[in-house]
Subunit: 358 residues, 2 copies
Amino acid sequence: MSLYAVIMAGGSGTRFWPLSRRERPKQFLAIGTRRTLIEETLSRLSPLIPKERALIVAGEGHVPVLRSLLDDPWIVTEPCARNTAPCVGLAAIHLLRSDPLAVMAVLPSDHHIEDAAAFRRLVAAAAERALAGEIVTLGIRPNRPETGYGYIHYNREDTQATSKGVEVCAVRRFVEKPPRAVAERYLSEGGYLWNSGMFFFTAARVLSDIHTFLPALGAALDRIAAVLGTSDEVRVTEAEFAALESISIDYGVMEHADRVRVIPADMGWNDVGHWAALADFGVADSLGNVGADGDEVVIVDAHENIVRSGRRLLALVGVSHLVVVDTDDALLICHRDRVQDVRRVVTRLETDGRDDLL
Amino acid sequence: MSLYAVIMAGGSGTRFWPLSRRERPKQFLAIGTRRTLIEETLSRLSPLIPKERALIVAGEGHVPVLRSLLDDPWIVTEPCARNTAPCVGLAAIHLLRSDPLAVMAVLPSDHHIEDAAAFRRLVAAAAERALAGEIVTLGIRPNRPETGYGYIHYNREDTQATSKGVEVCAVRRFVEKPPRAVAERYLSEGGYLWNSGMFFFTAARVLSDIHTFLPALGAALDRIAAVLGTSDEVRVTEAEFAALESISIDYGVMEHADRVRVIPADMGWNDVGHWAALADFGVADSLGNVGADGDEVVIVDAHENIVRSGRRLLALVGVSHLVVVDTDDALLICHRDRVQDVRRVVTRLETDGRDDLL
């Protein structure tokens, strides 16, 4: 079996402004970690998947930062962002050119996983089942009624064990981000997992399913595959991508496919979705203030703040539940319960034409 | 009559950190004003007292900043800070050398006064009475039970009017900063004014009173006066000041002197005592956020914050009642009700030997 990682690095998230910018979105930042999230993502795959078999799909604009962070990265560029289904299909045709038996571990580039050994054990188990023709996902056991994730309803009665003893369960259905009341019911009923966005299948299987469920994308991928390695590759890829609709692999393929399974995963997963997530895995002082290594902070009766200071000393006096992010040209002060609204700042800056701050 | 302003610029306040530093205390900053507070102080005296008759008493270390801000300032330097009585005495002997009839308007360098015309009218009235041999103060009508100021208990029955129709009242006594309950009683009883720290007397009268009530200071001033203009001036002034006790003119002289009067003053006075004072005279947006001209601030559901941004854009999301002060090397975030504790940050920095931030 040849197991490849397909690292999706096309995200251009705005929720980590002002640290994240167009040129340097979240996956290229060290957020609560020593190295950048994409470096951590590649590093935790080793030795199961060496970097030579880690294909990174990213926008053209992010190639320079990828090259600066990683040693000789293997990059396939997307001409434009069209969500995950075109991204996965593009990776599949690239892999199939050299390896008809390629197994793909499709992974986000910007998640945090505490227990890398557990993660690799689950990846190996998922790849084993993918090689046997299944589509496998990793599902995170929920610990709160989160409304920001999709859920996977699975069948605990229909569970098998891999050769390494990992339990692989049948998927009943994928559920889009639920309202609060529904999320609470999922949590109390059990049988639901968070959709981690990590998928495993052979390149051949996913391409076949794309042709079945997303025929326009399948045809476009065929036309791109026909010119890979020729002087027409860039032009054709650009033209085909421009005409594609944006659709996720979950919604476009997984929800309709058969033989889809999920592995319940306990590995300290965190999708680092917004600044408040730092409190989940950062190091807190005795008053619950979470900062980064090397930050210079003077605390006077301040508690439960999340701080990312820049080159300046930061003094907090009598304040609590703030997120403070200081950069050279912009400073964010946000209530911890309002981190989702950071994107409203970005929208305002876009409206104001402040490209220098985006 | 020759009326002189004596501007006390020796303060080294820490409550406006991180904007104020040892080299540039509050009086040399523009706080809620277009120009620095000391420039505003000199400017509002004109044309009643031209700058040629405005004597500034400051520490040696602040002479450069004074020269950079003001056009050819008249400066007398204090060798060390010994509170206001030695400062006033030193100014008096300097004035008496050239003008035996000098009337002194002793004024802080770092207050804000909204109505400069009203202020000059009161200064002129106070000077008229000072020339007649009285000690006159300006007293501010209190509008809250402030515990941070001294009070003046005055006799409304014993009121006279000056030639310009300004009411001048007899002082019953000076009161030190009262506890909250006492301040509330003063406010409800009436008959109390805030001590503004603005005093008027002839140089001859105050020197005479200093000799009476503070004989050690009087003798020291005599020894300095004997060498003014000689090569011994600096050495003698330094030696005498080093040996003096720190004492305020209020406590050391005014409380004991006779013929002390107070003019109730309505002129939009603000002592700019801490960051929260900006809310009293700054310009607020519709959500009560107070900022400075030229600040770049993006507000998303944030209200009643006091902001002093630096070169960075500042984004506030869902926060309220904060004081945010951004400088090149330090950033303060403080609850509005805790501005008195900013000095605790300064103390911490002193303990840590962070002279670069002091």
